[in-house]
Amino acid sequence: MLSLMSQSDYLSDEVFGLEQERLFGRLWIFAALKQLLARPDSFATRTIGGVPLLLQNCGGVIRAFENQCLHRQMPLQWEDYGERPLVCRYHGWAYDDQGAPRHIPGRDEIYRYDEAEAGSLRLRQFAVECVGNLVFVNLDENPMPISGQFSAGLLERLAAVSGAFDNEVIHSRIAAKYNWKLNFENVLDGNHVRYLHPRTFMPFMQPGNGKEAALPSIDPGEIDKCRLQDLSYESRAVFKVAKRPWHDNVERFGTEDVYYNFFLYPNVNFISVAGNIFLIQQFNPLAPAKTEIGFSLMTARKRRRIPASAALLWAHLCGEKAVLDEDIIALEALQAGLHPGGQAARHGVYEKQLMMNHAIYRRMLGAEGT
């Protein structure tokens, strides 16, 4: 089956601009972990759809603002996560919980804003939804309900699973030279694991697991009729879990030795190994051939202190990065070979989810998409 995507969809600046506007400007996008925004003045920063964002605990409420001071566009917060009042480091403008300046040093002496101008100053604010410990942001002025993007059942599962997150999180951002869609498509494609990850990941999968899974049948009209909610879902695979002493010190999510795998359209893959450890990887578009992968990893909530938790998180992160590096090498090679005159991909039946993904993508980008 010929893909609905052309190679230009992974190369073109014009397509990239449309994606930023029509996907990332309209969809609910994962933005931060709520457990790291629990304290007063705790914050997270992100860029979504090209817009620098700031999520700040404002008196117990998480708000999303544009992360630019109204004075000279300096970012109000600089680090990925932190704890600091909403005050610009550049000229000391301080903001209230609604994003209005509450103090402008020297306002009457050196700025001389009149009351009308001063009263009109307010940071752009965006819609926020929290699902368990997952914080989503929507840039649209009239955002769709989050239930329009994720089914009620999935939202319930996400709240339950992410509710098990511990407060200690190891976090990084990783640059890759390929289009963000390639990485989301890659995680949807479980068939690549045995070829790209024969030593790092495949040995943990139970023998034959996945091979015998019933392949979906594809009704020709089904792809066209699919809904946005169909793109985000949970899957599970039986996994070999080596028992570790620290497992007794956390409140594991569930009881099964399975690999939980959540796909959150458009750009998040959220996994858990047996409910003991969780990894969120997010494929953030920076340019047509430039992606930044957000990596956040944590254990299930600790019952008691684990003295070596830093070593534990670091070791797991390095293990996950080794798997990711195998994908990065392959996907960068794939990207490097794409060209506008190249043929479209040919999908098999097992790639039904991918095809639905592309159908919705085409619909959301509209006729202007190539």
Partner: protein
Amino acid sequence: MSRGLLLIGYGGLFDAVSAQTPGNWVGRTMEKLALTADDAMSPPEGLLEPYAPQDWDLLAAVGQDGMNFIRLALFSHAKQRGFKFESFIHSSAVIDPTAKIGENCFVAENAVVGPHARVGYNTAIGARSILGVRTVVDTSAWIGAACTLGATSRVGANSVVDAGVIIADGVSVGKQVVLQIARTYDRDVPDRTYHHSLFDRPVRIYA
């Protein structure tokens, strides 16, 4: 009769220390107890039963595995049972008389520990590394070979400073940090930050 010396651990550091006898150990009865990594991490009850704390000093020789927490686990296990520890100071190392070095430390060949420097317990200083004047390396840390830690610089507990790293004068490296990339660090490094070649920007733990 002098107290015996029990060398316990596994891996490269254990092997390296096993092969050498510093001058201050000459004439002492020495036994070696090779462990598995799992036993070092979670020492089984009865591991040290054959040895009485009043007769034996210990040296727990485990490398930087688990950000030095495995060596710390073994050290703590023995400490709780009343053992005292020796340190391994290579005969070619130069330790200023005003410097202080804690127990269960390892100072490898040709390392230099400068005036008023302090090395906390259970810490390793690699071969040819230099600790400047008033440099502080906290407990259970690991300084690899050929590192230079500038005057008044600090390295926090359980941090791993890999081979060839230079820490500029006065710079403070937090606890549980990994500096694996061999370069000069001339700004303070917050706790639980990881500079590693696997990642193109520093990794952080947030809580």
